[in-house]
Amino acid sequence: MLEFFSYQFIQNAFWASILISIVAGFIGTYIVARRLVFLSGGITHASFGGIGIAWYFGINPILGASVFSVLTALGLESLTKGKVLREDSAIGMLWSLGMAIGIFFVFLTPGYAPNLMSYLFGNILTISMADIQLLLVLALVVTLFFVVFYNPILFISFDQDYAQTQHVPAKFISYTLKVLVALAIVFSIRAIGIILLISLLTIPANIANLFTKRFSRIILLSGVISFLSIVFGIVLSFKLNVPSGATIIIALMLFYLIAKVVGWLRLIIYKETFK
């Protein structure tokens, strides 16, 4: 194991896992509690359009993805304002449009076509020092925002209509959170890819929610679960020589099933004691 850890890329992957788990703990808990998983999926996929355009013009793909995902997040807000278009329909449109634009521009780009699979599934083992620094900044910003505004975030997320009667900038908090969700998605894409990211934002928070109903504990627990599953997935993928991203997702779903069964057994035992 120590020998395993002596590789530079394993150390990088280790630090990246910690930072991504912190981000996933906060952002995942928020989007699961607010039922924004589909919206986040839409933003994540729409950002692919930005990656394609950036490739075509030869600029940094992450920059393109950032602009696209923030625009999508804020665009959804204005598209669904006035109830002309329902939110899930708007998400479906921007989701597919973003992916289409991405494919379109990658196709138009002469010469070498980038490995699109790497944006879908990512590769935490090839993460660079620059990517880790980016993740560090993101993790710090997200943590700071949640620690400073924990109560307003909780109260506003729980009942937005009520919060608006309280003369606090409820809109400002939810807009900022949407932008943070979008940026968290983009900064993590390089390391873990679109698909793994969605599972890390969704599954750990739902596992944690099986054990606790407290917002703060779900954040903490889902962060820990994210980290353990990433490490577990990487080690297992090494042993079996299979892709790490897919292994992590399958491991996460396995953890979810185990947690479900444990909860179910506890309920049966609890009922037995009353017989």
Binding site: N151, P152, L154, F155, F158, K213, I218
Partner: protein, 259 residues
């Protein structure tokens, strides 16, 4: 009415609606301290729209809604319909009640022992202090409604606005709620929207009817003639084992409305 009591809320000639559609026109209303106004009206008549106007969720197209602030706490406490609450949201009873202090505490405010003690007092008053650490998903409809009432009250508002508080709750809680409101009415004005006029007429002091506009009559006596004059096409009914229409000369006392 008490001529010398203080004006809390003044709505003057407000028109309000959604997009380009005007739902309510020429709404004027004055609320004084210790008022207890029951708002009734047919479905689709604009009860919810009026509430949204009063709590500032909708801005009037014309006219104005003015809260005459008289120091201290929030301008108003608001009790939404319990059905609008996401019961799966991971939040505890204590946290929900504390969220009623958001206006006072602002974005940077901390919630310390003082605030928790304050919240606990309201939970005691509502008889649910033993539930303070439960998540809202574990509550019954009546318990959730009590929790939301505590949230509305913790900022010690001058005006309490309730949106159909008698839906989703058992009749036992309903009776207790009305008694509690009677008590609260001694220190705050109350506006309550309800479709169950049979019951509310025995508790409220005055009745307003919403149907395209607001018809405010400073009395709690309603008869079918008045409703006709208000253009308020609703039947006076009360719940019972057999649905029945309350007769014109029916005395609105509690005996007539056993649940």
């Amino acid at each position: 009415m008490e001529e010398n009591s203080k004006l809390i809320l003044q709505v003057s000639k407000a028109a309000v609606g959604y997009g380009k559609e005007v739902v309510l026109r020429d709404v004027s209303l004055e609320v004084f301290e210790n008022d207890f106004i029951g708002i009734i009206g047919p479905n689709g008549g604009g009860k919810t729209t009026l509430l949204k106007l009063l709590i500032g969720q909708l801005k009037p197209f014309s006219g104005e809604v003015k809260y005459i602030a008289n120091g201290g706490g929030s301008l108003f406490g608001y009790l939404p319909q319990a059905g609008q609450i996401d019961k799966n949201f991971p939040i505890t009873v204590m946290e929900v009640v504390l969220s009623g202090l958001l206006a006072n505490q602002g974005l940077f405010g901390r919630y310390g022992i003082k605030h928790r003690k304050n919240a606990l007092e309201y939970l005691k008053m509502a008889g649910i202090e033993h539930l303070k650490n439960k998540s809202i998903g574990e509550l019954s409809g009546g318990q959730l409604q009590r929790t939301l009432l505590c949230r509305a009250l913790i900022s010690d508002p001058k005006l309490l606005i309730l949106d159909e508080p008698n839906t989703y709750v058992d009749s036992k809680f309903e009776g207790e709620l009305y008694e509690l409101l009677k008590e609260l009415n001694k220190r705050m004005a109350i506006i309550m929207v309800s479709h169950d006029i049979g019951t509310i007429t025995s508790y409220v002091k005055t009745i307003a009817c919403v149907n395209g506009s607001l018809f405010y009559h400073k009395s709690n006596q309603i008869s079918t003639q008045q409703l006709a004059a208000y253009n308020c096409p609703i039947q006076i009914i009360a719940h019972g084992p057999v649905p029945h229409t309350v007769l014109l000369d029916h005395n609105h006392n509690e005996e007539g409305h056993k649940h």
